[in-house]
């Protein structure tokens, strides 16, 4: 017997796009944070905005919570199903509706994969700048919900900096349009407010993205240091010099070893810290910048220095970097990845502190950073089969998060709060700040049905099991930064 709610959904969807049986539901039980699992009562696969709107109205009328899902690569439990709720899987809405090379914008459906926008733009000499390492799988809708970043956020910002307009359906089923096609607006920046709201404000149905010209040249270098702190200090010096590189990344020895073993990018195996710096832009400007960069790096005393001499070598450097986490993940059955941010001037200090904590807890931590913006990605390795190991790893993770707050930073730079860090949000903000967020949430979603329990803690937490690689990572399809 169909429940009345499922019966209502079946008026919207043919059987093949309304999943209610265990076999169909199992792959939607968790996202990239595999520590959490929850079975939804149904999964729907809409193919049009209209179907999404009708579904949300149905949920609103029946008080059934919903979670929008892109491709489930969230690392913080953002697309984890909600108890007694449904999953609205957006990845069939994957069309690029319009690409306007002259005005440099693209109008897309939310289920389109990030890399597909980049590819479509590239054929016009344009670039969709945000490049999360999951770009070959993650959707623009998911990127919007998390304000996702990537290695190249230093100069041109995160997802939010590249979204011009949104068509959304609010949790009560009303439809609204925010922003438009212009770079400028005369309204409060509602688009900016929606981006990063982690699915709590409803579902994005249509997204207008800004494209930028592809940089004329890239100059990419890697240099190796005998200590991680030396690499961190080099970053601080480069930033202080007034150069504005497109990317600056650091990897520690464990990550270097793992990446080298996995994809052979030619990294120096004995380095304690590897720094990657990339300049991008107009050729003659970049050449001059390179002279300065070279001087700064020389002064920072690396024992190894190499510039990518062609596109292939550049790609190798990045391939190593982008595969680092999955590669490290292979060294250990399970891991937790963190995403805190510290002020850039305190990077070296933060790195040393993490190493100290790792020693103190006797838990291996691999470090890969978006160093240019102070965004840390420590990877805490453990074996979930050992009793108490997950709990112990979580204690270490908590200390690292608290370190970031203490240093005046943030608990998350790009992975979002989701399920994972929702207990830490009140440590970063005052009670009045939290209350204000709840007030906004209640005004937009008075019945608390849009992804409830994420970011703001007001739901029941599902059981924690063990964490580890995303199924797609295990299959070698994607890797994380």
């Amino acid at each position: 017997m169909l429940s009345p709610f499922i019966a209502k959904l079946s008026e919207i969807y043919p059987d093949a796009r309304l999943l209610t049986h265990d076999a169909g539901l199992v792959s939607y039980e968790s996202d990239g944070l595999t520590a959490f699992r929850e079975k939804p009562i149904a999964v729907v696969l809409p193919e049009s905005a209209d179907e999404v709107i009708r579904t949300v109205r149905c949920c609103f009328d029946s008080h059934v919570p919903f979670v929008a899902r892109g491709n489930g690569t969230s690392l913080s439990g953002g697309s984890l199903p909600v108890k007694n709720g449904i999953v609205i899987s957006m990845n069939r809405m994957n069309r690029i509706l319009r690409l306007d090379p002259v005005q440099r914008l693209a109008v897309v459906e939310p289920g389109v994969i990030n890399l597909n926008v980049t590819k479509a733009a590239a054929s016009h000499g344009l670039l969709y700048a945000p490049d999360p390492s999951s770009q070959s799988v993650c959707t623009i809708g998911g990127n919007i919900a998390f304000n996702s970043g990537g290695a190249h956020c230093l100069k041109y910002g995160m997802t939010s900096n590249h979204v011009l307009g949104l068509k959304i359906v609010l949790p009560n089923g009303t439809v609204d349009t925010l922003g438009g096609e212009s770079l400028e607006s005369i309204h409060p920046d509602y688009v900016g407010m929606f981006v990063g709201s982690e699915g709590l404000f409803g579902i994005a149905l249509e997204i207008t993205l800004r494209l930028i010209p592809k940089p004329e040249v890239y100059r990419t270098v890697m240099c190796a240091y005998r200590s991680l702190k030396a690499a961190g200090d080099a970053v601080s010096k480069i930033i202080a010099s007034g150069l504005l590189p497109g990317a600056m990344e650091i990897m520690d020895n464990l990550s270097i070893q793992a990446a080298e073993a996995a994809v052979h990018p030619g990294y120096p195996l004995d380095a304690a810290g590897l720094l990657i710096v990339e300049l991008e832009g107009e050729a003659s400007q970049v050449d001059e910048e390179f002279k300065r960069l070279h001087g700064l790096i020389e002064a920072s005393n690396p024992y190894f220095f190499k510039e990518a001499k062609d596109a292939f070598e550049r790609q190798q450097i990045w391939k190593g970097r982008k595969s680092a986490f999955s590669a490290v993940g292979r060294l250990s059955p399970d891991f937790i990845v963190q995403d805190g941010v510290v002020p850039r001037g305190r990077l070296g200090e933060a790195l040393e502190e993490i190493q100290r904590l790792s020693k103190q807890h006797g838990i291996r931590v691999a470090n890969v950073f978006h160093a240019g913006d102070g965004n840390l990605h420590p990877l805490i390795l453990y074996d979930g089969k050992q009793k108490g190991a997950l709990h112990h790893a979580e204690l270490l993770a908590a200390e690292i998060i608290e370190l970031c707050i203490r240093f005046g930073g943030s608990i998350t730079g790009e992975h979002g709060v989701g399920m994972e860090k929702r207990t830490y949000l009140p440590k970063m903000y005052q009670p009045s700040d939290m209350e204000s967020m709840f007030q906004v949430r209640r005004a937009i979603d008075p019945t608390n049905i849009a992804n409830p329990g994420k970011m703001l803690m007001d739901g029941d937490a599902p059981a924690l099991t063990t964490s580890g690689m995303h199924p797609l990572e295990k299959a070698g399809v994607i890797s994380r930064e």
Partner: protein, 363 residues
């Protein structure tokens, strides 16, 4: 970073007073220095809160490229401070020499030509503290350049026109300022040629700080494109030569001339004594039709940010102003009697207004 308000006790006292004022007032209208008088037409019967008493730099760490300011701080003061350290706010805040405050700049989204290259105020505002309609002090965002924790209040406040709360502290990301600049002015007899060149440049890999499209004598003598580049001095000549292959150059501005030209543009000097000045967000494709209309009615205008903003300056008549649509008056009297103030909000905007200011105190 976690303190509720700025550390200075005088400032704290002042903020407490303002909280009390918000709690006890029925209607409130927030003003900075009133450099953008177009925002101050609907304040009848409201208590006016003026922010310049809350001014000063809360913290500035040049090595971190982050600055935190009280809302009433004059932008000029900030610009000069940053310049001492070779840094700047790349979005070219408007009306700097007319006393603009930083809070007013954010609330009115007053970004200028430089917005073209690296983004607008929304892209540089990292954190914010404000007093909401209940009189509570709220902090949103943070003080580091990357932060995805919590709702993005900083962005929401850009363009909020004082209707969502009283912004009393703001943290900006700043950038290293290019060590040298140069500007090319190119003239065209026809608008469509100018627009085509503008689009071509904007899509090219040339790193351009600003592109403005300016009708000469209201378009009767053609149009000019002002194109600004900046960067390392030793590369600039090379880049200028390259730029000249794209457009017919009629004038080259360097050093002080370049500076003066853009300073005048950000101070909106061209629009002075012309009646009202209205901002319309547009895209390049809208320029042709709009310009035809303006030219017929002898209305002065400029297209800024690579064709993403139209500035229209005139003494208004009803016939024309009806067609304005989504526009914001920056300077002078309102073109239309009520010009939709408070503007009709969509469901998302209504919910947010209700959450932050349930009694609709801020007007």
């Amino acid at each position: 970073m976690n303190s509720l308000v700025a550390p200075d006790t005088k400032v704290n006292e002042r903020i407490c007073e303002l909280q009390e004022l918000v709690r006890t007032s029925r209607k409130l209208h927030i003003v900075g220095s009133k450099s953008k008088d177009g925002f101050h037409h609907s304040s009848d019967g409201a208590t006016t809160i003026s922010t310049p008493s809350l001014s000063g730099v809360v913290s500035y760490d040049p090595l971190e490229f982050v600055v935190t300011l009280l809302g009433g701080t004059r932008v000029l003061e900030v610009v000069e401070l940053l310049e001492k350290h070779g840094q700047y706010l790349p979005f070219d805040p408007l009306l700097v020499d007319r006393g603009a405050t930083i809070g007013g700049t954010v609330a009115s989204n007053a970004a200028g030509p430089g917005r073209f290259r690296f983004g607008g105020i929304r892209d540089f505002l990292l954190g914010i503290r404000f007093i909401d309609g209940r009189g509570n002090c709220i902090r949103g965002g943070g003080q580091v350049v990357k932060n995805a924790a919590g709702f993005d209040y900083p962005k929401l406040m850009v363009g909020s026109r004082g209707t969502l709360g009283l912004l009393y502290e703001m943290t900006f990301k700043v950038f290293p300022k290019p060590e040298s600049y140069a500007t090319i002015v190119a003239t065209f007899s026809k608008l469509d040629e100018a627009v085509a060149s503008m689009n071509k440049l904007a899509s090219s890999p040339l790193d351009i700080e600003a592109i403005e499209l300016i009708p000469i004598e209201m378009g009767s003598r053609g149009y000019e494109l002002a194109i600004r580049i900046g960067g390392i001095a030793s590369a600039l000549m090379n880049r200028l030569n390259r730029l000249q292959k794209f457009v017919p150059v009629s004038m080259l501005l360097q050093d002080h001339d370049d500076w003066r030209y853009w300073r005048a543009a950000t101070n909106l000097e061209w629009a002075r004594d012309k009646g009202s000045l209205v901002k319309l967000p547009i895209t390049p494709n809208a320029i042709a039709a709009m310009d035809k209309q303006c030219s017929k009615l002898l209305i002065d205008r400029r297209y800024s940010v690579g064709g993403n903003v139209a500035w229209i300056a005139t003494v208004w008549n009803d016939q024309w102003s009806q067609q304005l649509g989504d526009a914001q008056t920056f300077l002078g009297p309102l073109p239309i009697e009520d010009n939709g103030y408070p503007r009709e909000l969509g469901p998302f905007g209504r919910a947010i207004k209700y959450a932050l200011d349930p009694e609709s105190k801020f007007i």
